[in-house]
């Protein structure tokens, strides 16, 4: 097991080699049973929300997770904070397995790992004043009652709001302000890792920029690690060190942020990048866009072999039969594809099967592809 651990922690760049692993995820699966029956529920199938996902997050790193709606991004990070029960696999925080930890055992972990939610309106209790919303994490952390108000005031000021806002209710704020409050609540326990579940997708573009800048400032100030989930590729590119591309519960590509945009290996990533609109309509029309048609398949009955093959322009017979392993290319760039793009024959020859590959994946790494 330890040998495999070492293989999982692949040094990708100089920065990452120095960082120690903060969060390790191994072969994580989250399946939701579909039940039917009048009196006794029978499980007639499963929704494969997250299906055998492995990755490592290093200290101080920002890991972006992108993918279409319904690809399992949110389920993945909900499973990481144990809001959703993981069906199989392991989650390790600072080396300690928290996959099956009790609520009591989780308490110290929860102090270091916080989550910011997608909908800033729904994530704040409408019946509580901001002082109460920020007060309960502060008291959980052991701040004496007499000091909580002062600390809450500091937190609010830190996220760009006024101390006087403490006495207000969530409905009195705008979306951007509410998200700042959500971030302040996450910061209240002095965490090391913040999981951001589409933190800006409910906000106006101008406010998005403010919130993202705030997140970056906070990262420097408190040495935070982020897992940043989004479906907006340009936002993710701006904030991430590394990016994970997910499709139907599987990892398609894991890559250093810049390289993903310059040299996407997986056809799905290429299609995602092609869907980023360019503000100039002329430029936009000029683009040769390999758009992917159709909808993602039903996650109850995911396609055989490669999950992407029904929509993939490069799919061949092997894609239907064998699930591609995550193959590691130079620079810590991983992709799960039998027909990789943008890699030379030498790079393919130098590639190897990553230990992060799904358990059911084939052994064969791609051969040099004439296409």
């Amino acid at each position: 097991m330890s040998g495999e651990d070492a293989a999982l922690r692949v040094p990708a760049s100089a920065a990452e080699t120095n960082g120690t692993a903060l969060l390790e995820v191994e072969h994580l699966r989250v399946l939701f049973p579909i039940k039917q029956g009048l009196l006794i529920d029978r499980t007639i199938g499963h929704v494969h929300a997250v299906d055998d996902v492995s990755f490592v997050l290093h200290e101080g790193e920002t890991l972006g997770i992108v993918g279409e709606s319904g690809c399992g991004k949110t389920t993945l990070i909900r499973a990481l904070v144990r809001l959703t029960h993981a069906t199989a696999g392991a989650i390790r925080f600072r080396g300690a397995d928290i996959t099956a930890a009790s609520q009591k055992q989780l308490r110290p972990v929860r102090r270091e790992m916080q989550m910011v939610f997608q909908d800033p309106q729904a994530s704040l209790n409408p019946r509580k004043r901001i002082s109460q919303i920020l007060g309960s994490p502060l008291r959980l952390r052991g701040v004496p009652r007499a000091q909580t108000e002062g600390r809450a005031r500091d937190l609010l000021t830190r996220v760009g709001m006024y101390g006087e806002h403490l006495n207000r209710f969530p409905h009195e704020f705008s979306g951007g302000q509410r998200q700042r409050i959500g971030i302040a609540r996450a910061l209240a326990v002095d965490p090391k890792l913040i999981l951001l579940d589409e933190p800006v997708s409910a906000l106006d573009v101008s406010i998005q920029a403010q919130v993202i800048n705030l997140l970056e400032e906070l990262q420097g100030e408190f040495q935070l690690s982020y897992i940043f989930v989004a479906h907006d590729l340009s936002v993710v590119r701006h904030v991430s060190d590394r990016i994970i591309v997910m499709y139907l519960g599987k990892l398609m590509e894991v890559s250093p942020a810049r390289e993903l945009y310059e040299k996407p290996i997986h056809p799905y990533t290429t299609a995602l990048l092609a869907s980023i609109p360019i503000p100039d309509p002329k430029e936009n029309r000029k683009r040769d866009r390999p758009l992917v048609g159709g909808e993602p398949p039903n996650p109850v009955n995911p396609p055989s072999g490669c999950r992407f093959h029904p929509r993939c322009p490069r799919a061949t017979a092997i894609c239907r039969e064998v699930e591609p392993p995550l193959t590691e290319y130079a620079g810590g760039h991983l992709a799960a594809c039998h027909h990789p793009q943008n890699v030379s024959a030498e790079e393919i020859a130098a590639s190897r099967r990553s230990a992060a590959s799904p358990l059911a994946a084939g052994e064969e790494t791609p051969a040099a592809d004439p296409a």
Binding site: M115, R129, M161, R168
Partner: protein, 344 residues
């Protein structure tokens, strides 16, 4: 940083120059303050609320009226006495036992006598006190049980929900009055621990119990919806215990539902108490209540209609005022109502 300030300024409607760290912002306007503002504009609801308050105060003053004005106790019958009506002297009970009608004289048999020669006005106030007391205690019992059952079932779901919901279904399957008669009669005959037929509390217990499902079910439904909201997830991932989440995160969000249900349950409890008592399964003589007064007066309906009419009118007035006020309260607390701030 300036841009952030602008955002804050935009929302509060105060220009950026005024906003300054030294300026104290007024405290936020909470949901209850907003509800009170809406309720204050609803004159009809307030008027009926006032009527209800008046009835309560009058009933609380029953001992004072009985001792200092009417000089007669509620249980004292004077079948052989006489009373002055408009200058003429009349028997309280005439030769065939028909009681005298209202004298409209505050000091003596203001609303006439009942068939045992007791002062109807005094009994009306004492009976009202008992009816309101039973209604209030029954409402407290209903709300307490319903909130606990509904919140547990809705939040914990699974087997807990299954058990609680089936028990509620069983209670619900019987009509409230029918179940009340059964329970009331059983307690009357056998007693239930400390509860005997003679205590008003046993009636309150019965009435309170039969209404639990009517409140617990909607609360359960609301908790089921609330627990899926993100702020509950936020509380869970902070590591708060289920008990803390139920009491400090969910309960405040149930408050407006609870407040709306209280007048509804109160009105129904008072009516149900009267119905049970009328049928002999509620308050037992010699205790007075509006129900016993109607029940006692029924034998003399043709000749002394006031015996039934007076407690009946009080009952209707009380329930009506509670309901109209409750309606106003619901409108004020309804989150879907348009929120208007600042305008009076």
């Amino acid at each position: 940083m300036a841009s952030l300030r602008d955002e804050a300024a935009f929302d509060t409607g105060i220009t950026a120059e005024i906003l300054d760290d030294t300026v104290e912002l007024p405290p936020g306007v909470g949901p209850y303050r907003l509800a009170w503002r809406r309720l204050r504009r609803n004159r009809v609801a307030l008027a009926f609320g006032l009527i209800f308050l008046l009835i309560v105060v009058l009933c609380l003053l029953a001992p004072i009226y009985s001792q200092d004005i009417a000089h007669i106790s509620p249980d004292y019958g004077n079948p052989t006495g006489t009373v002055k009506v408009g200058g003429k002297t009349e028997d309280i009970l005439n030769a065939v036992g028909i009681p005298v009608g209202p004298t409209w004289n505050f000091t003596h048999y203001f609303l006439g006598a009942d068939e045992e020669g007791r002062d109807v006005a005094v009994r009306l106030l004492y009976g009202g006190r008992n009816s309101l007391e039973i209604g209030l205690v029954a409402t407290l019992i209903t709300m307490a049980l319903a909130i606990i059952a509904g919140t547990l079932a809705g939040y914990l779901r699974g087997i807990t929900d299954g058990i609680i919901s089936r028990v509620l279904d069983i209670i619900w399957a019987y009509p409230a009055v029918l179940l009340g008669i059964v329970l009331g009669t059983v307690i009357e005959i056998r007693g239930l621990g400390p509860f005997h037929s003679t205590t008003l509390l046993s009636t309150a217990l019965v009435v309170g119990f039969v209404y639990v499902p009517y409140v617990a079910k909607p609360i359960r439904a609301q908790v089921l919806a609330l627990r899926e909201r993100e702020f509950i997830d936020a509380a869970r991932q902070l590591g708060l215990s289920p008990l803390r989440i139920m009491t400090f995160e969910i309960l405040p969000n149930l408050a407006s539902t609870i407040i709306v249900f209280i007048p509804l349950v109160l009105a129904n409890a008072i009516l149900n108490e009267a119905a049970l008592t009328f049928l002999g399964a509620g308050v037992q003589p010699p205790n007075a209540s509006w129900g016993t007064m109607i029940s006692d007066g029924i034998s003399t309906i043709p000749e002394a209609f006031h015996n039934v009419l007076v407690p009946g009118i009080m009952l209707v007035l009380t329930v009506l005022s509670i309901n109209v006020f409750g309606d106003g309260l619901r409108d004020a607390l309804d989150p879907r109502a348009r929120i208007r701030i600042g305008k009076e």
